[in-house]
């Protein structure tokens, strides 16, 4: 709803008496839903906040011979809304793989030039022939009576015989099946990966059962279909899931395993027990055991099966993974007075990278995210390696990076793995527990999660190569065209990674480091997480909570960073110096004399100086004016000044004698985005200081502003945002005196053309000597990604 409101209504009426200038400090209330008894003006849940609940009991069978899933679910839906419901909607996300799905029909044409690789051609053919989508066997009530249902794209409406009244509950049963997609070939958030070398599969099963659509106080039924980017939001509930799979497969899932005695060997159960109190991860299934398992003879016509029973409380979804290839390691991680089992499942193809880093990345994420929000509330946290590069579900996530076939790996692969695990485990907080609607607003979980990911990465090791979070890294995107605001519906977002992940994460980092400071920000951010854990926040709730808990009106910040595509580009336009003129005629004359003498002679004056002058040849031509000094002070002037001073009181006389410099610095806001002005001042005496001018300096005129700096020293130079804290996209106009900043290319090329001795000499050049050097720094220095 918010996305449909244009910036044209930023102010109530057009103001023709202010040059059409926008008012970036105008409250954003008219863009936000009005506070009510469900959602208060402070950003907290209101006294009549409600949300629905859906509890599931699911029996599902994984057919490894046909890569097919067959299941039966019993769902108990509790209507806690104040509205009677005549029908219920379910999500059927697998229908995205139907050949008539909206995601295919509404797809945009790509460029097929210069050529289509074979892998893409294979994907095209596989997708065309893949019989995807849910097959709904039956929908019945608790008495096994059929209920009418209608499938609409990736949703299904089930009509109830009677409206489900407020506080009422209803039980439904749905039989379903679908063919599992080859995720390596076709892609997706779940699917299988086939390993030709040993004939085995890894299954990562997600969005796999008919899931009750969220019904909310602000949108009713969430009726946005699943077409790709926008993930999902669901209702919280308890799950009991029984997964039947070949008996030589390991199964990892959301929740706690209820029947280890039926599906795990005695040594495995014993190792699991040891792992709960171990200092480091323990193999529950070793690499050797996994290798033996994947090589077992599976030629028998009907393999034996195991049924794994998992129970999960207060989760909004359930996912699982299964394979014969899994190595399994685990460690009990203390979090407050609880132990969380951090566990990883991966094939030998993922070694040695995964046993070294996966579970360690899980426990690190549990520590850091818990500190910034609330303690991780679930009993297990699982990372699985398979075909999906990175996707999150409650307590379990799928992560793709693997080393080379020889077991070696690059730095990019190593940090790619650690980062994706931090990110996907981090999603347990946003949106799995703080249940924002990522099908509507991707940034609410991806942006917040990427921000915390950045903090967690920086606590992993010094100078961790984070891809997102630093202001300098978002400059290219901020300056770019073809953007939409962060506050854009997920499917309509342009430059998705930068928009939904990078920009909000960077905005929050700037809010933390530069605008609010760490203490205030961290308090407010934590407050948001605490208020909305196991609840369903909207953007309004986030914006309002951050202002409410930080004690700062941040409307200007949300407006600029989240509702607009403006960027930060502040410039120093000019600097004027004023000094107190006491009016002492002798001082004034002396000053003017110095200024006059300092005026350079013109070239003609210089050359004419040697010429013999007529008045020197004929002195009689000289008169009064030849010797008259027009700066000469008369006694009358002195008397008048003394009289003026005598008329002043002591304070006024003291002010008159003050020798301070009054600098008026004129700033321009060229990018439109409001920002504090961080001004570095270098003085002639070698000292310097950093001035932090609040963003509110722009509230009278968002385009140009003057700032007075009073100092007894002489300013030598000024620089805006020297540490690149604000994502200012243009460094060339950040300096006074102006400074030419060469292109990155020219700077690099000029450095390349120096010989090593020249480079060494340049490196030891004292800073003071480098002042004025036009080629000191590229436009985006500080980008050390």
């Amino acid at each position: 709803m918010l996305a449909t409101v244009g910036l044209a209504v930023a102010q109530p009426l057009e103001n023709n008496k202010y040059g059409g200038r926008p008012d970036p400090f105008y409250p954003i209330d008219n863009w936000l839903a009005s506070p009510n008894e469900q959602r208060t003006a402070s950003g907290a849940p209101g006294p009549r906040y409600w949300q629905q609940r859906a509890d599931y009991v699911i029996e599902v069978t994984l057919d490894d011979s046909r890569q097919r899933l067959t299941g039966q679910e019993q769902v108990t839906y509790a209507n806690r809304s104040p509205h009677p419901l005549r029908y219920l909607w379910f999500q059927l996300d697998q229908n995205m793989y139907r050949p008539d799905s909206e995601s295919l029909l509404a797809a945009r044409a790509p460029s097929l030039e210069p050529r289509v690789p074979f892998s893409s051609l294979r994907s095209i053919l596989a997708r065309q022939s893949f019989p995807g989508g849910f097959e709904i066997g039956s929908v019945t009530d608790a008495q096994q009576q059929p209920l009418p249902y209608t499938i609409v794209g990736t949703m299904m409406r089930v009509d109830l015989p009677e409206p489900l009244q407020p506080e009422g509950t209803i039980e439904l049963q749905i039989a379903f099946a679908y063919n599992i997609v080859d995720a390596k070939l076709i892609g997706g958030r779940g699917g299988f990966e086939f390993f030709p070398s040993d004939g085995n599969y890894i299954y990562e099963i997600a969005q796999w059962y008919p899931r009750l659509v969220a019904y909310t106080d602000y949108a009713g039924w969430q009726h946005q279909h699943y077409v790709g980017k926008g993930e999902f939001t669901l209702e919280f509930g308890d799950f009991i899931v029984r997964i039947t799979a070949p008996d030589d497969m390991l199964v990892a899932a959301t929740g706690e395993l209820q029947n280890p005695q039926d599906v795990l060997s005695e040594p495995q159960r014993q190792r699991l027990q040891e792992a709960a109190t171990a200092d480091k991860p323990v193999f529950i299934v070793t690499p050797e055991e996994a290798e033996q398992n994947e090589q077992r003879d599976r030629s028998q016509s009907k393999p034996e099966t195991n049924t794994w029973e998992f129970q999960a409380e207060n989760v909004r979804d359930f996912a699982f993974a299964a394979s014969r290839k899994f190595i399994w390691d685990a460690v009990g991680h203390r979090l407050g007075d609880r132990t969380v089992m951090a566990m990883s499942y991966y094939p030998n193809e993922a070694e040695p990278l995964w046993s070294r880093y996966s579970t360690a990345a899980i426990t690190h994420t549990l520590d850091v995210f818990s500190r910034f929000t609330f303690d991780y509330p679930y009993p297990v946290a699982i990372s699985v390696n398979g075909p999906i590069y990175g996707m999150e579900y409650p307590m379990i996530c799928f992560n793709g990076p693997r080393p080379e076939s020889d077991g070696t790996y690059s730095k990019a692969t190593k940090y790619g793995l650690i980062s994706v695990i931090i990110h996907e485990i981090g999603h347990n907080w946003f949106p799995m527990i703080v249940n924002s609607d990522e099908r509507q607003w991707s940034w609410m979980d991806e942006g917040l999660n990427t921000f915390l990911q950045y903090l967690a990465e920086q606590e992993w090791e010094e100078d961790y190569p984070s891809r997102r979070g630093e202001p300098a890294d978002i400059i290219g995107f901020m300056r770019s065209s073809n953007q939409r605001p962060i506050m854009t519906q997920s499917e309509s977002t342009l430059q998705f990674g930068n928009n939904a992940y990078g920009k909000p994460a960077t905005a929050l980092n700037i809010l933390r480091e530069t605008i609010l400071g760490r203490d205030l920000f961290d308090f407010a951010f934590k407050e948001y997480a605490l208020r909305w854990r196991f609840k369903r926040p909207t953007p309004e709730d986030f914006f309002r909570t951050m202002s409410d808990a930080s004690g700062h009106d941040l409307d200007w910040f949300w407006r600029g960073w989240f509702f607009s595509t403006d960027h930060v580009d502040l410039a120093i336009e000019r600097v004027r110096l004023y000094q107190i003129d006491a009016g002492d005629p002798d001082e004034t004359a002396e000053t003017q004399r110095i200024e006059r003498d300092a005026q350079p002679k013109s070239i003609s004056q210089q050359r004419n100086a040697e010429l013999t002058k007529r008045v020197d040849l004929q002195p009689g031509l000289k008169d009064f004016y030849n010797d008259y000094d027009d700066l000469q002070v008369g006694e009358d002037d002195r008397k008048a000044f003394r009289k003026f001073v005598d008329g002043l009181d002591a304070d006024e006389q003291k002010l008159l004698k003050r020798k301070s410099n009054f600098y008026v610095v004129s700033f321009r806001n060229l990018g439109g985005l409001i920002s504090p002005i961080i001004l570095h001042v270098d003085y002639e005496d070698g000292s310097d200081e950093r001035l932090m001018i609040p963003a509110s300096i722009w509230n009278q005129d968002p385009r140009a502003v003057d700032k007075l700096i009073i100092t007894d020293k002489t300013i030598q130079r000024l620089e805006i945002d020297p540490q690149q804290q604000t994502a200012d996209v243009e460094a060339t106009n950040n300096h006074w005196p102006p400074k030419l900043v060469p292109s990155r290319f020219k700077l690099f090329k000029s450095e390349q053309q120096q010989n090593p001795m020249q480079k060494a000499k340049a490196e030891v050049t004292p800073k003071a000597e480098a002042i004025g050097d036009d080629a000191q720094r590229p436009a985006d220095q500080g980008d050390n990604q």
Binding site: A107, S111, S120, G187, S743, F748, D783
Partner: protein
């Protein structure tokens, strides 16, 4: 069929990383060459080199000579001026700067013919491994800069070769 193709590309997009590069371009009036700087994430560069060379390459371990040997030809072959491939003599590898998670690559590009008032540069780099990748381009001209977002659908940016009016 094309729609299916797009959807398949979108399918690979379902994953979390969003891929982009940063490109800075400038037409040098004196040398009559395009000056190009492009920042590429190492993971993307490694994926492209793996596809091209058929084996794994660790960017953080490459010497300058290896970068010139492997990265430079890849870059040259993924650029087009006025839709034409670049002959080796049209491409000058200036070097690279390796950072923590990405590298800046520098090259000069010459048109095959004396340049007209405008020429187009098509950037196909990485699109074969990340079809949804964006090249975020900053085009410098004099003291001014304009930005462009290139994609597989629109991979071309147009540069003016005329001197700025004084």
């Amino acid at each position: 069929m094309i729609a299916v193709f797009t959807a398949l590309l979108a399918g690979s997009l379902l994953l979390h990383p969003g891929h982009s590069t940063r490109v800075e371009l400038q037409w040098n009036l004196q040398s009559e060459r395009i000056e190009l700087a492009i920042r590429i994430d190492h993971a993307d560069l490694e994926a492209a080199l793996r596809k091209r060379l058929g084996r794994a390459v660790r960017v953080e371990e490459l010497t300058d000579e290896q970068a010139q040997q492997w990265i430079a030809p890849y870059l040259r072959e993924t650029l087009r001026i006025d839709h034409g491939k670049l002959a080796p003599e049209q491409f000058s590898w200036i070097g690279w700067e390796r950072k923590r998670a990405s590298s800046w690559l520098y090259a000069e590009l010459s048109p095959a013919e004396p340049p007209a008032a405008e020429l187009s540069l098509k950037i196909l780099t990485l699109l074969e491994v990340e079809p949804e990748l964006n090249h975020v381009v900053t085009l410098r001209r004099g003291h001014g800069q304009t930005s462009h977002v290139l994609s597989k659908e629109k991979p071309v940016v147009v540069l003016s070769t005329k001197p700025l009016d004084r």
